[in-house]
Amino acid sequence: MIRVTRKLEFSAAHFYHNPQLSAEENRRIFGKCNNPHGHGHNYVLEVTVAGEPDPATGMVLDLKELKEILEREVAERMDHRHLNYEVPEFAGKIPTCENIAAVIWGLLEPKITKGRLDRVRVYESPDLFADCMAEPNGAHGGAGG
C-alpha cells in the first residue's frame, strides 16, 4: 500500500462561540478565540490518499486530479472566507481545527474515487494540528474518553 500526500494552503477567519452558552461561559471556555470580530490563520491542509498504484500508470491517483479536487472543494469554499459566516458547512458547528478537519474529510471522502482517503490533517499554526481518519474497523477503539 502506498500513501500519497498533497498540501494546500488557505487563509480564513473564524471565531469560537456557542450560542447555547452565556457570554460569560463563552469567554471562559474559548478565551480570546471568542472575540466576535474574529481572527485568522494561514491553514495548511495535508490530504493523504492510500491505495495500490495502477500498474498501467504507476499512480495511486493522478495528483493533478487531487489538486483540482482540493481547489474545488476546499480552496473555493474556504480560502479568504470567514468560516463562521461564509461557509455553510460550519452552520451550527464551531470552526475548531478538529471540526475543520472533519468537514474537509466529509467533503473529500466521496470525491476520491481512486485509492481511499486515509487522513486529513489541518495545521492551524506550525505548532498545532488536527487529524481526521476513518475509525479503525468502524469501531470506537480510538475514541474512548
Binding site: 469560537y16 481518519m133 475514541a143
Partner: protein
Amino acid sequence: MSGPVKLSLTRSYRFAASHRLYSAAFSEEENKRLYGKCGNRYGHGHNYIVWVTVTGPLDPATGMVANLSELDPFVERQVVEPFDQKYLNEEIREFQDRVPTTENVCREIYRRLRSFPGARLESVRIQETGNNSFEFVGETGAPQQAAEGRAR
C-alpha cells in the same frame, strides 16, 4: 458525513535540556562504543520539541477534542516546567538510574501526561534535533495498569 471518523489533536511544546548517554552497567569501553560522543563526561544539550497527540470524541459544546486552555497548562506543569533548562540525568529522578535516551524521554513524558483528564493521550513524539525524532505510541488496547507498568 461518510462513515465514522476518528479525530485527534496534536500540539507541540519546547524545552531545552542537557543529558549524557552513559550506563554504569557497561564498561567505559562499552559505553564509548555504544554511545560515542553522546557519552562525553560533562553532557551536552538539545532544543527538544515535544509533539503531544490526544484523541477522543468531540465535545459537542466546544467542537474540540481537548481545550488547549487545559492541555497547555497541564503539559507545562507536568513536563516543560520540570524539564526545561535542566540536566536530565541528575535533575529528573527517573533518569538517575535510566539512560536519558530520547526513547526513554518519550516514555517518561508519556507516563507524565497519560493522566490528562480532558482526552485520551495517544502518542508523544520528540524531535531531538532537526535530523531525528522518536515516538511512543503507548500500548493501545492494553489494560491501563499493564501500560503503566511498561511505561515505567
